[in-house]
Symmetry: C2
Subunit: 119 residues, 2 copies
Amino acid sequence: MSRHRGKLLRDLPDATGGEIAEELLCDGDMRIERIVSAGQSSPAGFWYDQATSEWVMVLRGRAGLELEGEDAILEMGPGDWIDLPAHCRHRIAWTAEDEPTVWLAVHRSAPLTPSLPGV
Amino acid sequence: MSRHRGKLLRDLPDATGGEIAEELLCDGDMRIERIVSAGQSSPAGFWYDQATSEWVMVLRGRAGLELEGEDAILEMGPGDWIDLPAHCRHRIAWTAEDEPTVWLAVHRSAPLTPSLPGV
């Protein structure tokens, strides 16, 4: 019986060349991944508009999430999560530049999160 | 459009009277919950034998997980995760007594995790 396991906060990859997404589990319609950011943000004017839903949490670091229709940028730190239903347009306003930001993303029937280029 | 969100590590409930599981999201076959433990462990000889699969991670605190067929107890701290396929028999050997242990559990088609009584 497979007992797949890991340590999400150990041996973080260097994401300064671009965000790094790694799949932890894929089972049917569900996919769990770790994403490591290093100061990246979405390009100006770019919005994610995903066909499927994503539950996402920050495990380490900090990030600012911009949600269409909301004036304030949602600042997220360790333990903070949000569910982004399909077609909930959003963008990454910023991620911490002084330490890695580690995300956990749980996708429902979603393709891999597009990675942002290096900064 | 619903943008359900929260802070998993804030305002932790007092679990000394028994583990506390709270549902964060339920969508189709998937359910995400936070579980707060305070020194609880599975009763002697008790094994979880769940009909469905569970991906679980420790966010804060520490816990020891016993897996049927493995001699060593798996010690888990922040960021450590394991996927428990359906009928992967396991039990909680211990959880930290000096601070709350916070778990994130992602269930595939599972009922609420049974809570352990207080210690």
